[in-house]
Symmetry: C2
Subunit: 133 residues, 2 copies
Amino acid sequence: MIIRTLADVRASDRNVESNGWESARLLLKDDGMGFSFHVTTMFAGEEIRMHYKNHLESVFVLSGEGTVEDLGTGETHALSPGTLYVLNDHDRHIVRPKTDILTACVFNPPVTGREVHDESGAYPAEPDIALAS
Amino acid sequence: MIIRTLADVRASDRNVESNGWESARLLLKDDGMGFSFHVTTMFAGEEIRMHYKNHLESVFVLSGEGTVEDLGTGETHALSPGTLYVLNDHDRHIVRPKTDILTACVFNPPVTGREVHDESGAYPAEPDIALAS
């Protein structure tokens, strides 16, 4: 049994900050669970474009308000506590938080923890390439 | 993109009640994500023995207080908002909620949604057989 706390992870190198969001990676690939589990905050007023080409992700809203736009369909969905949005088809999307939005995120395959640095280094000028949340 | 709300799932047949807990299964195997995602409440004063022989599970505490006892090591860990406990070795364990505990749970492989009924029917007198939360 592994025991971790959000506070401890936030104070460790498993906490990552990027443009418009920060993420505490409570479980990563090396934990051997077959998924990764992150508590991610998306900040009020940001417009966060994401496209996970290699991962499926579910995002459960714990607190906060905003919208998610599905760029494949053009639909915009309201986000509030208790909403789950699921990127089951590598969906290109934009999250627009009205307030800070706190979420519980699951990735399959699991994030290794190195994607942010690798991808931001490899594609610094590509605004709609996903950084793993 | 799939959009679901906890309120809608709780009002559907994806909400399951059992001895000491209830669980809203927001994602199940048939959603094709490779994991299942549940918002589960464990009720104050209960003593819930669990042993998932065929699944790995992570449990993130959203609200409430209690303990989890690892029957493999004999250790008891405090549970409070922000605690994650991870059954990475099919750990036999007992949760003792002091208050109602609300959790976000991830299962790998994903739960199909039929385990509770099958297992409770097959092993009604077996107190420490897991029911999928």
